[in-house]
Amino acid sequence: MNDAIEQSLPFHVDLEANRILAIEAVPSPLLPARLLDIVVPADWGRAGEMAQAAGWRWVAGWAEDEGEHLSVSVCLELQGDYLVLRTHIDSQQPSLPSHAPYFFSANRPERHMQDLFGIEFTGHPDPRRWTRHQAWDEHAAPLRKSYPAAGVPPAQTPPDNSYPFFKAQGQGVYEIPVGPVHAGIIEPGHFRFQAVGETVLHLEERLGYVHKGIEKIAEGRTAEGLARLAGRVSGDTTAGHAFAACLAMERAAGLAAPARAAFVRGILAERERVANHLWDMAAICNDVAFTFAYYQFGRLRELWLRDNQAWFGHRLLMDIVVPGGVSVDVSDAALQGMRASIKYLRKELSELITIIDANSSLEDRLVAAGYLTPAQAQSFGALGFVGRASGQSFDVRRAAPYPPYDQVEVKVPVEQQGDIAARFWVRYKETRVALGVLERLLAALPAGETRLPWQTPQPGAEGLGLVEGWRGEILSFVRFGEDGRVSRYYPRDPSIVNWPALEKIALGNIVPDFPVCNKSVNGSYSGNDL
């Protein structure tokens, strides 16, 4: 561990030793991350290779249109240190060595940049289109500034039936196409199974169906407008994404939300975590027909959402995290009410978990199903409960604490079994931890302002927000243009990283267990597709 830290921290020195010219921006405009400019784009691939060898995790990648040049930025993380590598390429012939050979988590994000900026990533192991279906053609690059937000769409968008799916052949091998419209109240996406008998031989995800141009329509928005949009990147993570986007915008503006606002944001984030974990635990049990737990957890979630409505004015907590602070304060009545409801929930959970733990049919379905090894989880860079059920302990709240978590300790439960049962247990334990964190946040809630007046950032100012959403680490990059208007927004939901893990998790399971495998990961389609 210590060796890794010593090796990794002077990453730019390593680069120099390998004759990669890199210039560090001092002071960094992207705190808490350092920013290294890789001067020669041809070195980009080797820089990725070295980062992988030194144990860095590939967090996110995004591009920006700077006119004659496109910039490509990649955020890396090691031991809680964040580093952004950036390079500039010719916008007429945009080509850059791929990081995907070294990092699995770079695979789809690079294809996303390829589809939306027209960048060719050389050496990419799978350069098929990803976000692009049939709504714009191969030569269009919707995120270039010259491309109109309205686009040039066909009168009717044709179905995307020419995607080159992986094929499997052999005696008894058959294919099951599922989606995009699924047999339930869930988001759209396509799954292509190759199966033998009941066993899944191969699973390929085809996402992008709910791509609605979030990055493009963010351009030109005010700070407040961007916070609203961020709150709708993934509806179940409205507090998380708004939190990350507001941190990014505030850092760009040189502003820090008041202490009380930071605590209220923490309260909102933990309440969101509890509500979603309750729902996931309900749904995992429902997918193996244990309806008792479905109704019980669903009941507790509904009560929790009604409390949200009573104390914050919105069941899902939308539009409460705003630039400069929060729009709703915690009243004394809310404080007392929340304390009481935390106690009640804790008592109910204790009672329920005893029943669930003793249920052998549940154990039969969840233990050893949907297995992701710790080594696989690490190579995917799996986040949140998916990573933590397979031995990955990373949590932004602990590894790189931001207000209010710099003042409240967060325990991070980790399991090693890597199966659906482990993902259930991590959620359960995280729920209990969140209740404790909530109590400490309420107890230490500072007095004072909850919102500062917004300050218009300088043209070109940029900022990075990194928070632990309920699904895991969320990254938010924001750059401002003229008049305090947003010129670039890129949100990286943890789903983007975790979705590929599901392709492995499903392998060797029976097809009818896919829904519960899927639910145990519960990636956001909207957060992935943007």
Binding site: P142, T157, P159, I185, R299, M318, E351, I355, S526
Partner: protein, 170 residues
């Protein structure tokens, strides 16, 4: 196992008369009115196929809540089905992403006549936060015929119930 049954018995029946928590006495009356309408027009059962045509998933969370023990919309004869072939009503959330446009049209065509469509949420009703763009067709009515809209971001379960009741109780 005994614990399980004890928990079920002590939890009791939670399904609400809506006037108790929300002080909206018209809802229970509306529910009965809907039940009457469904009994008359749909032989007691209204089948809904929910279609997410591009939403942020906020609306889906609240549509799900209709099935929890507090709302239990099934007591009014309303239930969710897995195929558009079985549906009387499509509950469509939006905005309709261009990548979902063809799938939504096909789902609509696969639904047997007579059929109704309700566009759910501000995005489904008018494009909402996302509007129209290279990637989004905007409101649901831009793609398939819509009979009614239920606004809200997202609409609460209560608003969803009222919206569904309104279409058939009139």
């Amino acid at each position: 196992m005994l614990n399980l049954y004890r928990k079920i018995l002590t939890t009791g029946v939670l399904t609400e008369k809506f006037d108790r928590h929300y002080r909206e006495p018209e809802i229970e009356a509306l529910g009965i009115e809907l039940k009457t309408a469904i009994d008359r027009r749909f032989a007691g059962s209204l089948a809904i196929r929910q279609v997410d045509a591009g939403s942020c998933n906020g609306c889906e969370l609240e549509i799900h809540a209709l099935n929890n023990v507090y709302y239990d919309i099934e007591r009014f004869g309303v239930h969710f089905v897995a195929s558009p072939r079985h549906a009387d009503l499509l509950l469509v959330t939006g905005p309709v992403s261009r990548n979902m446009e063809a799938a939504l049209r096909r789902t609509y065509e696969a639904t047997a006549n007579p059929k109704w469509v309700i566009a759910v949420g501000d995005c489904g009703a008018c494009g909402g936060e996302f509007g129209e763009s290279y990637a989004s067709c905007g409101r649901v009515a831009n793609v398939i015929p819509v009979d009614a809209v239920i606004v809200g971001c997202p609409p609460t379960p209560l608003a969803l119930m009222r919206g569904i009741l309104n279409v058939f109780a009139r």
